[in-house]
Symmetry: C3
Subunit: 94 residues, 3 copies
Amino acid sequence: SSRALCSMDEAMDEKMKQGFSSLLSDAVKNIGIQCRTVSSRGELASCPEGLAVTSCSCGSACGSWDVREGTICHCQCAGIDWTAARCCTLGVGA
Amino acid sequence: SSRALCSMDEAMDEKMKQGFSSLLSDAVKNIGIQCRTVSSRGELASCPEGLAVTSCSCGSACGSWDVREGTICHCQCAGIDWTAARCCTLGVGA
Amino acid sequence: SSRALCSMDEAMDEKMKQGFSSLLSDAVKNIGIQCRTVSSRGELASCPEGLAVTSCSCGSACGSWDVREGTICHCQCAGIDWTAARCCTLGVGA
């Protein structure tokens, strides 16, 4: 009957919500932040597509930098010899 | 019968586990780390609520900084003209 | 019959996909990036296992650093008095 189908639907919804919570908690434990460093000569360094720039490091002891177009580290001091981008993404089974 | 319900429960649990794994792998591909920079004059810069400070950048070439109260970048050198916070969060469909 | 089971399977698959999407969107809102700073004397500072190094900060105003073995901040300037690692991970219910 329609009533029976409806109850089945509700039962499945309830079951999915319960199952999802515990499965998600387990899953998040397996998802980690994974970072790597990309270095280049000069004042610019780019992260590969899909990775986020979380920070930049600069040669010449310089701590002044900005991020261009979301993915490019730019070190601002004059005569920078190298620039490094710290690039991070999510990974399953970290 | 109670036995039948039990089997149905087990079948659904099993099915959810299988489905969840493949759906989660797909979903993680669509979840990305999204970062933006917030700059301010002076020696402090704050990330908006809900975003994490992954790094700070300082004027005057300064590379010495700390994070106050979890969300505020503080550049430590004397006479800092600007401070920038790199602020990141998770986003679906990055 | 086999046909009936098959339809039930398909119905459950469809239902799980629908449910998963909405549950995942809700869940992602509850997953956040959580960061803390670990400071040490000298030129090295390490993140605890399971946390990613998103950046390093250095004493002596130094902005030149690299990450060793994935988890250790190394400040490169001579005579560094302190080093700090910015360490991040995912957390549910941020």
